[in-house]
Structure formats: C-alpha cells, structure tokens
Amino acid sequence: MTLQLTGSWYLVLAAMIFAIGAVGLMVRRNPLVMFMCVELMLNAVNLTFVTFSRLLDDVGGQAVVFFVLVVAAAEVVVGLAIIVAIMRRRQGANADDVSLMRG
C-alpha cells in the first residue's frame, strides 16, 4: 500500500513541533533560544490552521495565519529590543538572572 499523505500527518507534525517548542521554552535559559521556541510553537499552530483550512475547505483558517504572522513579527520586534537591552547591561544572557519581578 502506498503511503497516503493525509491531513492527520500534518496535524501530528504540528503537534510535535509545538511540543518541541513548549519543552524548549521551559528547559532552555538562553533568551534567544527561548524566542526561537516561541516561534516554533507559533508556526506549529499556523500549520494546524492551514491543515484544517484545507481539510474543511474553509479559507478562514488561512486568513488567521496572516494575523498570527503579523502579531509574531510585532512580538519579535519588541522581544528582540528587550533582549538587546538586557544584553547591554550584562554579560551573557540568562533568563533566570532576570527575576526582578519576584514576588
């Protein structure tokens, strides 16, 4: 039998990417890497949206992806600015060092 590339493959792939991103976000301390993990999670979600858009034949899912991309771009701008500001103040970047908001 031939391997049929059904929608569920895409969904599983998206879930795996999301899990990688989520775990990476929690275990890594480098802000840049954490950032990339966030991007992974976002794009996993995008992939899910596109898949369902195709499966359900509804263009709305693809439209949402554009919104997500725009928000992600904005978030990267702000987030990178923060990271650069932190890098200027201290050597090396460690998310756990930045814990001034401790209760």
């Binding site: 929690m26 930045v98 814990s99």
Partner: protein, 667 residues
C-alpha cells in the same frame, strides 16, 4: 412684603462687617454697628407686622423662598422664611429686646479687650435666633437651633481665661446636645411618616399621623426643648450659664434662646394636638420644674443665680401652658417674661457694674440710695414677676394657671403646684430686692470675712462650676477673679445712660405688657385673636366667676410670699437659715447626683465602651489588614520571577483546560 429676608440678613451683615472690620471699629463703634443692625431688623419686623395687621386673618403670612437648599430628588428643602402671626410676634420681641440689650452692652462691655468679638457673637446669635423662628421647615429651625447653641457656648465662655467659665460653656453645650438628639430623631420620624419637613404641610397632615407616632414625635421634640429651654432633667446648664457677661444672660439665657423650645412646640401645635398623653407629661414636667427651680432660687446668694433659677422656673410655667394646650398663655407668658426677666437681668447687671463686679447679695444692702433708677426699674420687674396686679406678669401667669386649672381632672393639682411655685417666686424675688436695695446695713463696708457666715451656702459658691461674673478684661489679668475690688470705702454709682435707657424702656413694657391680652372680654384678648388662627388644639379658660376667684387667690399667694420674705429679711422675725436649707442651696443635689452617676458607673461604662471599640471594632478593622497581608505572604512563592516557571504554569494550565474540555465533550 418680600423684605422679610432683611430680618435675618441685617444681623448677618452686622456679623460679617464686625468679623472683617470689628477690631478697626473698636470701642464703642463696633457696639453701635451691632446695635443698629438689630434695630434695623426690628424696624423691618415691625413694618411687616403692621402690614399683616391690615390683612384678614387667613392671609396673614408671608413665605419667601430664597433658594432651594437641599434638592434631593423628590425631597426638596427650601431655604424659606415664613413670617406669620406666631413667628412675627417672636421676631418682634427678639429684635426689640435684642436691640435694647445690644444698646445696654455698648455700655456694659466698655473697656473689654475683646469688645468687638462680643458683638460679633451677639449679632450672630440674633441672626441664628431669627432663622430659628422664621424658618419654614424643621431643617431651617435646626440650623438656627444649632446656631444659637454655638453662640450660647461662645458667649458663656466669653471670658474663657477663667477655667470655670470655659467649663460652664462646655456644660451648656454638652447638655444641649442631648436635647438636639431628640430634635433630629423627631425630624427623621416626621419625614419618614409624612414625607415633609415643612411646617405648614406637617400641621396640615398631622391628623393623618398614627397616634403613637405623634406621641413619639412630641416626646422627642420635648426632649429637645428640655435641653434648650432648661427643663427637668436637663436644666442644670442654665444656672452655670450665668458665667457669661450679664447682657448675654439677659438676651440668651432669659429672654430669647431658652424660649425656643416653647416656640417649637407651639409651631407644631398640629402634631401636639394628636400627641395624647405626651401633653400631660409636658404639663407635669413643666410644673415640677417650676417648683424645683423656685425652691432652689430661695437659697442662692449669687444675684444672677437667683435670676437663673427663676428663669428655669418661669420656663416651667410656659411648658405647663404648652402641656395644657394653652399656647396663647405660653406665648403670652413668654413675651411678658422676656420683658421683665430681661429687665431684672439688666438691672442686676447694673448693680454688679456699680458694685465692682461683686455678685454676692450678702455684700449688698441699702443700694436704693445710690442707684435710684436701677432700684425703681428693678422694683417694677420684681412686682411683675411676683404676679402683683396690674403688672404684666400677673396677667400672663394667671392665664397659664387658669388654663391649667381647667385641664382635665388633674387640673386643680397642676394649678395648686403652680401657685405654690408662684408663691416661692414672690418670696425669693422679694428676698433679692431686700438684700440688694434695703436692709439698712451696707454690707460691703464691713469686712468680707465677718459679714459672710460660714455655712452650706458658702461651700456651694466654691463648688459651683461657675460662680461669678468675672468682670471685665481690664480685671482679668488679675490672678484671681474671686478677689473683687469691692472695698469698704466703695461708693456705688449709677451705670451710664446707655445701660439705664434699656432698663427704663423694659420697665415700661413690663408695666403695660398685660394689655396685650386682658381676659375681661374677648375683644381685649388681642394676642389670642392674633395668634389663634395658626394654632391647633383646644383649651378653654374657666368661666368668669372661677377666673376671678383664681386671680384673687393668685394675688393673695403673691402677697403672702412677699410678706413672708419681708418678715424674714427685713424684720428679721425668722432666721434666714430656717428657709435657706442646704438642700435648696444645692438645688436639690441634682447637679451633684449627675456628677456622681456620670463620674461613677457612667465613666465605667464609657471605659467599657472604649475597650470594646479598641478590642472588637478596631480589632476587626486591623484584622482585615493583617489577614490580607498574611494571605499575600502565603501567595508570594507563586511569583518567583523566573520566566520559565511562568511558561510552565501557562503550559500546565492549558493542558488542564484542554483536558477538562476534552473530557466534558466526550461525556
């Protein structure tokens, strides 16, 4: 006739002018400004009064709404003035007597370092009193009610450097607050049950009140009146109020402010007519006050204290009249009393003035030779208050007592107690006159220590919170006010003409005051014809024959009192100690009992309340604070500051929500 706003506005203007420029005007210009303000107010009152006189009875009122005071939804209270037969009469005698007393004070306060401040207070007092009587609703009256209370406090403790004066002021204020509570509660109750605080509307709607409500309202307003008008059990502040300058005693604590309780109950005669047994209680309290205070007056040696107890006693007569629904009698006696009591106080002030601020009657004697004008005018006041015909006091007191005689089955008892108080009145007033103006010996010439026998009365003078009119500020730098400047070679000299003129005018009024309301035929009852349209409640005077008998008995009683006093103090047939019992000198120990009760169990319970406040009330408040802090501390670990643990939290949370949704959907 919209000009009635000028009646309170003129004293207010005088007050403001004196606040701003009083010091610059100084002595005596400030006094003249104040006098003119009140006199102007009198002229306006008289003009409006004459205008009303020309109108038919049912049109004799003017309402002027100056502005909306409290526009709160459907509850509207206007800053409105209401000039009708009752408030018109009140305005006339407040401003008339007020102007005379201002004039007197111009002379009396001469040389006082706080001369203008005195007239500031005096004008503010007159303005408040006029608002009290002119207000067209209970809140306006309450405004005036509190205003006169504050002015009374300020003026009693006018010479506040003496702690006795300061505490006398506080005593008056605190005692009055007890009564004010009754005023407020009664106002709330009327508003809840009738939805209005306007007098006209209240009196019109009063028959719709439930009997219990009307009784409660009447009793609460009577509580207010016992405070302001010095009735049992709250009269104790008035004798101490004599610490104020004498014009204040005459104006506030004899002629005007203390009558505001009588005015209030008369104004609300519609409610009182529905109040049932409250009226009987008022009559009894009134007559007992008259008796108790007259008894205390017998054994006082301070000339102003005698007059103070006499005022309490006469106010008791007015409440006897109110309680027997004899409002005409109450107002009649209020007016004649204002004439002769203001006269007596001002006369006493003239005596004190001439005797270097000595107030102890035991150091007077034979003053008629030195103070002829004061003697004659005070003599008229004495005859009026004792109830000797044809002086004014006879007519009004007789009307009150005759009304009481006819008031139900208890009437003759009330009448008998009243006539007893009247006999005592004649007795102690004669005693005052003899000790001051007669007696042969000029006691200030002998040494003070010799002439004053040791005894209960002396002790009283030391114990009392406010013994003396402490003299002018010129003397107040002196270490002790009790050391008067009365020396054996002192020659009493008549007071200046500004002080004598009011005495003469008031003496004239005290003579002819009875003409207002002569009982011989209804056509001569001018006051009754004038005022009755605004009164509710019924009372009937006895028939002419009974009236004659009562009048003759009353006159005989007065003569008896005078004669007995003459035997004791002029002929020395009876030792004064037999009459002046210590229990009388101490005013039945009422003050001492209050001091014991409030100082003993009272203070303990206040402490307990304070303890409760600290432990329970404050404890609860502080508990909320510290509880919040404790919870905050417990929750702090949730905010470690590590981004990754927040991310973990978000992830776990999402998983949980997801799990929840999935399981619910699969069910």
């Amino acid at each position: 006739m919209d000009a009635i706003w000028l009646i309170p506005a003129l004293p207010v203007a005088g007050f403001l002018l004196l606040v701003v420029a009083g010091r610059k005007l100084g002595d005596p210009a400030a006094g003249w400004v104040a006098t003119l303000a009140v006199a102007g107010s009198f002229v306006v009152s008289a003009a409006v009064f004459l205008h009303l006189l020309g109108l038919p009875a049912e049109e004799r009122n003017v309402t002027v709404t100056l502005w909306q005071w409290l526009p709160a939804g459907s509850f509207q209270v206007s800053f409105g003035l209401f000039f009708d037969q009752l408030s018109g009469v009140m305005c006339l005698f407040i401003t008339g007597i007020g102007a005379l007393i201002h004039l007197y004070a111009v002379g009396y306060m001469k040389g006082d370092p706080h001369y203008s401040r005195f007239f500031v207070y005096l004008n503010l007092f007159v303005a408040s009193m006029l608002l009290l009587v002119l207000g067209d609703n209970l809140l306006m009256t309450f405004l005036g009610w509190e205003g006169v209370g504050a002015c009374s406090y300020l003026l009693i403790s006018f010479w506040f450097t003496d702690p006795a004066n300061a505490s006398a002021g506080k005593k008056a204020f605190v005692t009055n607050r007890i009564g004010d509570l009754g005023f407020m509660l009664a106002t709330f109750l009327l508003f809840v049950s009738l939805g209005t605080v306007n007098y006209t509307e209240i009196n019109a709607a009063a028959p719709k009140l439930a009997g219990v409500t009307a009784t409660a309202v009447a009793l609460l307003f009577f509580l207010a009146a016992t405070g302001k008008s010095a009735q049992l059990p709250l009269f104790v502040w008035l004798p101490d109020a004599m610490a104020g300058p004498t014009p204040v005693s005459a104006l506030i604590h004899a002629a005007t402010m203390v009558t505001s309780g009588v005015f209030l109950l008369t104004r609300l005669s519609g409610v009182m007519a529905e109040a049932g047994w409250a009226n009987g209680l008022i009559a009894w309290v009134g007559v007992l006050t008259a008796l108790v205070a007259a008894g205390a007056g017998v054994a006082q040696n301070d000339i102003k204290k005698v007059l103070a107890y006499s005022t309490v006693s006469q106010l008791g007569f007015m409440f006897l009249a109110v309680g027997t629904q004899n409002y005409v009698g109450a107002i009649f006696h209020m007016i004649t009393h204002a004439f002769f009591k203001a006269l007596l106080f001002l006369g006493a002030g003239a005596v004190i003035y001439s005797m270097a601020h000595e107030q102890d009657m035991r150091r007077y004697g034979n003053l008629r030779k030195y103070l002829p004008v004061t003697f004659v005018t005070m003599g008229i006041g004495w005859l009026a208050i004792s109830g000797i015909p044809p002086f004014s006091g006879f007519w009004s007191k007789d009307e009150v007592l005759a009304g009481a005689f006819n008031a139900g089955p208890a009437g003759p008892v009330l009448w008998f107690l009243g006539i007893t108080a009247a006999v005592l009145t004649a007795f102690y007033m004669t005693r005052l006159m003899i000790m001051t103006f007669f007696g042969g010996a000029e006691h200030w010439r002998t040494d003070a220590a010799e002439s004053l026998p040791e005894g209960g009365a002396d002790e009283d003078a030391e114990l009392s919170v406010a013994g003396h009119d402490t003299g002018h500020g010129a003397h107040s730098d002196d270490a002790g006010h009790d050391h008067h400047h009365l020396t054996p070679d002192h020659t009493p000299r008549e007071a200046p003409v500004t002080m004598l003129l009011p005495l003469v005018v008031l003496a004239g009024l005290a003579v002819v005051g009875g003409l207002m309301n002569l009982p011989f035929s209804h056509r001569l009852e001018n006051l009754a014809i004038w005022i009755e349209p605004v009164l509710a409640g019924e009372h009937e005077l006895p028939g002419a024959a009974v009236l004659w008998v009562l009048a003759i008995l009353a006159t005989a009683g007065a003569v008896l009192g005078v004669w007995f006093s003459y035997r004791v103090y002029q002929q020395h047939k009876v030792a004064p100690e037999k009459v002046e019992k210590p229990v009388l000198a101490h005013a039945w120990y009422i003050d001492e009992t209050y001091a014991k009760v409030v100082g003993g169990p009272g203070e303990a319970s206040f402490d307990a309340v304070a303890e409760f406040d600290q432990k329970v009330v404050d404890g609860a408040v502080n508990g909320v604070g510290s509880g919040t802090r404790w919870i905050g501390r417990a929750l702090r670990p949730l905010q470690p500051g590590f981004v990754r643990s927040y991310a973990l939290g978000v992830a776990v949370g999402s998983v949980l929500v997801l799990a929840f949704v999935v399981t619910r959907m699969s069910l």
